[in-house]
């Protein structure tokens, strides 16, 4: 299926490559191929054109558009499917010797180009390391390999009577390795936490082949954590090869509520108060007027308003209490109860992802931008990002909802759509992003809440991190002197 005897041609002339690389000499290519085949077996290495094309991209919307324009983001030289941690350790050693990149690949649902092999090299597809290793009921933990698909993991847990509580919209199309690589957040995160909170320990292969394992303990105070350096590193500091997570008994009860508020501010204030009271609904989503109109057009009582969706789940008695407190707080803040239906509608449609498929071929450029901010700056940030995006010529829609909440602040999830009236779609796209990122930074927000940095956000990472970015660079240099792991990302 995926095997190939010899290294194939660079690419056929049917498409243009956006990030072209100088091709490896035939001799070098044959040598690396032979070594890779020795490590993982012939069937686990491919140089076929169709495989290289399949790993040329992730779900970065502008790169998806390039496909229509006859362009391919970047081609790897090899696609490799490791089956063990040792395989990976050997592969990265060879890559260091040969000075060629290694790019870990989960399911390519990252939305910023993180998994695109911009400098060619080896794409390391983790899907053959997708086993559930242990489920421990006493400790309420599960240990898995990183290539497991999110839904397959959650299905397994549900069958056994548990949940991991990490339900990103990409649950169906992403892996555990990708979640850790990007520091992902699920839609039920206000109760269960983000993937960083759910992680207990991990195993990883560092860029020079060293294998590290952290201890599965609830907490320790033994020096700074080294393992968590891999979180959010997007494959630039090593490859995660195993992880242990917290799990929860499958919720006994789920309650659905919704309220319409006259202003976004009232809605935000309600949620802030609910959390201050120590109530953490699993799902909290507050939509601005534009998005309420878009997603809840059949809820008449919410017309012209901002709808709040709440889903509480867990132990029956606790859920009843959470529901009652949330109701009181929302109505006290002027929220009009709109019943279960809008929340049920959200539950039913939450995985219907159609926008890119529908709008890209119509020359509408579409993307989402998630940022985080403390409560006291939340309204200011919302307003300034929306007006920054709207100020760009060609923007048709600019809207947001708040999707993850903390007692200290909130994550806003902006959406923009538009068409380039003068320059190229890529220029238009970058201009809108730049306006949004600058507005976010000026308002004191963080430029990413859970999608990560990838290629696109690299240009603002210096402003985001300040001198910490230099420290990150030093760490990268120490761990990966040949810059083998996923080069060209995160400004590293």
């Amino acid at each position: 299926m995926s095997s190939e005897e010899s290294a194939g041609p660079a690419h056929s002339p049917g498409y243009e490559i956006v990030y072209p690389q100088t091709s490896l000499s035939t001799e070098k290519k044959e040598r690396i191929l032979a070594n890779l085949q020795k490590i993982v077996g012939k069937r686990n290495v491919s140089c076929r054109e169709i495989d290289r094309l399949s790993y040329s991209r992730d779900y970065w919307p502008i790169a998806l558009r390039w496909m229509l324009e006859g362009k391919v983001p970047a081609l790897p030289d090899f696609v490799v499917w490791p089956e063990t941690t040792d395989h990976i350790s050997h592969i990265v050693r060879i890559a260091s010797e040969e000075k060629i990149p290694v790019v870990p690949f989960g399911e390519g649902s990252g939305v910023l180009g993180g998994a695109i092999p911009v400098q060619g090299g080896i794409v390391l597809d983790m899907k053959k390391m997708s086993a559930v290793l242990t489920l421990n009921d006493d400790n309420l933990t599960i240990t898995v390999q990183p290539g497991i698909n999110g839904m397959n993991l959650e299905r397994f847990l549900n069958q056994k009577g548990y949940t991991m509580g990490h339900i990103p919209q990409s649950l169906y199309c992403s892996t555990v390795g990708g979640w850790l690589g990007c520091r992902a957040a699920g839609q039920f995160s206000t109760k269960y936490g983000k993937i960083d909170d759910i992680l207990i320990s991990l195993e990883a292969v560092l860029p020079q082949g060293t294998i590290i394992r952290s201890k599965p303990v609830p907490k320790s105070s033994t020096c700074p954590r080294i393992d968590t350096l891999l979180l959010g590193a997007e494959g630039t500091l090593g490859v995660i090869t195993e992880a242990t997570f917290k799990i929860w008994p499958y919720p006994e009860k789920r309650a659905l509520q919704s309220y319409a508020f006259s202003t976004l501010k009232d809605g935000l204030e309600s949620v802030r108060t609910i959390l201050r009271r120590g109530i953490f609904p699993a799902v909290v989503r507050l939509y601005d007027q534009a998005e309420t109109e878009r997603h809840f057009y059949s809820t008449k009582k919410a017309r012209g308003k901002c709808i709040l969706i709440l889903v509480e789940e867990g132990d029956r008695e606790l859920v009843d209490l959470e529901e009652a407190v949330s109701h009181t707080v929302c109505t006290d803040h002027g929220g009009f109860p709109t019943g279960e239906a809008p929340a049920a509608h959200w539950m039913e449609t939450r995985f219907n992802v159609k926008e890119i498929s529908e709008f890209t071929p119509r020359d509408v450029v579409f993307d989402t931008i998630e940022v985080s901010v403390m409560w006291d700056k939340s309204m200011e940030l919302y307003q300034s990002v929306i007006s920054a995006m709207k100020s760009i010529e060609g923007v048709i829609i600019a809207s947001a909802h708040a999707s993850h909440f903390y007692p200290q602040g909130v994550c806003f999830y902006f959406t923009f759509g538009g068409t380039s009236l003068t320059g190229s779609p890529t220029d238009f796209y970058e201009t809108v992003w730049n306006a949004a990122m600058k507005a976010c930074l000026n308002a004191g927000g963080s430029i990413s809440h859970h999608h990560g940095i990838g290629i696109l956000r690299s240009r603002w990472i210096r402003e985001e991190l300040g001198p910490s970015h230099d420290i990150l660079k030093s760490i990268k240099k120490a761990l990966d002197p040949e810059n083998v792991m996923n080069p060209g990302k995160m400004g590293l």
């Binding site: 498409y15 094309l53 199309c173 890119i356 509408v364």
Partner: protein, 399 residues
């Protein structure tokens, strides 16, 4: 229509807020841009839908048995759509790309999660038709087509009848190629059940393949010839109802013939549906049968024909029979590996799919019961459990 309009009202409203000249530009692009991204030569494939799938984040991937077995992006649903798009646009042309267009179990698992209601096999079928028109079909598949056209069946031993004298009857039993050539026991038990139930049944003097393999491989014209012939001989049989043991035959006769311009004038039923009818009429009666079984839903029966309750009710009607349910069951069933001719187009993948499904079933009981001859053959191959067709269990229960 009104619902669709309401759904997109926000787009219209957003556009209405733009300046007049921008509005015009946006609307023109919105309505006309996609033409630029579609092939000019009017292919048979639905390239617009393929493009939507190619631009999807692969939302059904977790349930696609081919991807779960291949573990490669290339074999993911949207991954195949992307290569299909590049192929249709003439941007790739390799043998690998062509072969990939046949790597699908036609199990429709993708469809249940798809926001566009696509089943990737339907999308790929159009590409295969184009490959036929462009003379790009792999040789082994051309050979299969020639064999079917020559012998009227997909199997080498070329048996096309049960060898029974046709007679006048309201009920026509059509065995299908797989039963005729590989699993005659299914036809024999089905006929015995019907006889015991007092039903007069006839058969066709010569059964031609229903044409499903031709249709799946994109040989549209040949398929239509088979459909025309079969529609005619079914009509001539004078039957009112047609019973088949093979879900693929039922689906093809019932749904595909109608779609391709040869609708049958008779009711088409799968044996499980008809047996249940006879049980409810008291014509089939059971004695006690102590048996622990696990029932495997054939993909076509469960997802394309939506028949999941009938076979279960049939089994549950037999006193003493205990039916276990695998975790992936009913419309969430998993392919046995034979679907979509995968055993021919990609034997390696087919075996991996089979092993995965088989291991889920064998944990639960020593006997796997299914209602499709191809699934039965698949599970027989692994030898991990006894593999039986529904009719065999029904007959055991009647004896």
């Amino acid at each position: 229509m009104l619902e669709e309009f309401k759904k997109y009202l926000w787009v219209a409203k957003a556009i209405s807020r733009l300046t007049l000249s921008t509005q015009k530009e946006v609307v023109i692009r919105f309505l006309t841009a996609k033409k630029k991204y579609l092939p000019e030569d009017n292919p048979k494939a639905q390239v617009e839908d393929i493009l939507k799938c190619a631009l999807c984040p692969n939302m059904c991937r977790f349930d696609c048995p081919v991807l779960q077995a291949a573990k490669s992006e290339t074999y993911s649903p949207a991954g195949r759509a992307r290569i299909a798009y590049l192929l249709e646009m003439g941007r790739v042309s390799s043998h690998d790309a062509v072969e990939l267009m046949y790597a699908c179990a036609a199990c429709s698992a993708c469809q249940q999660w798809c926001p566009f209601d696509f089943s990737v096999d339907d999308l790929l079928m159009g590409v295969r038709r184009d490959l036929v028109d462009r003379n790009l079909v792999p040789e082994t598949l051309m050979d299969i087509k020639d064999q079917i056209v020559r012998t009227r069946t997909i199997y080498q031993n070329s048996r096309t009848s049960l060898g029974l004298e046709p007679r006048k009857a309201d009920i026509l039993y059509v065995a299908g190629c797989t039963v005729l050539n590989k699993e005659r026991i299914i036809a024999q038990t089905a006929m015995k059940i019907l006889e015991k139930a007092g039903i007069t049944v006839t058969t066709l003097p010569e059964e031609w393949c229903c044409g499903a393999p031709l249709n799946l491989l994109g040989f549209e014209d040949d398929f239509k010839k088979f459909a025309a012939h079969n529609a005619d001989s079914i009509k001539k049989s004078g039957c009112k109802k047609m019973i088949c043991s093979c879900p693929e035959c039922v689906y093809t006769f019932k749904e595909v013939y109608a779609k391709e311009g040869h609708p049958l004038q008779v009711e088409v039923m799968h044996t499980s549906e008809y047996f249940l009818e006879l049980i409810e009429q008291g014509k089939i009666q059971f004695k006690e049968l102590q048996r622990d079984l696990v029932y495997h839903d054939p993909c076509v029966l469960a997802r394309k024909l939506h028949i999941t309750e009938q076979p279960r009710k049939v089994l549950e009607a037999i006193p003493g029979v205990s039916v276990k349910e695998p975790p992936l069951t009913k419309e969430h069933t998993r392919c046995c590996g034979i679907g979509g001719l995968l055993a021919i187009t990609n034997p390696e993948l087919s075996v991996t799919l089979l092993r995965a499904r088989d291991s889920e079933l064998c944990k639960l009981a020593d006997t796997v019961v299914t209602a499709c001859p191809a699934c039965k053959i698949a599970f027989k191959r692994t030898r991990n459990a006894e593999s039986r067709d529904l009719s065999e269990i029904v007959l055991e229960g009647m004896n």
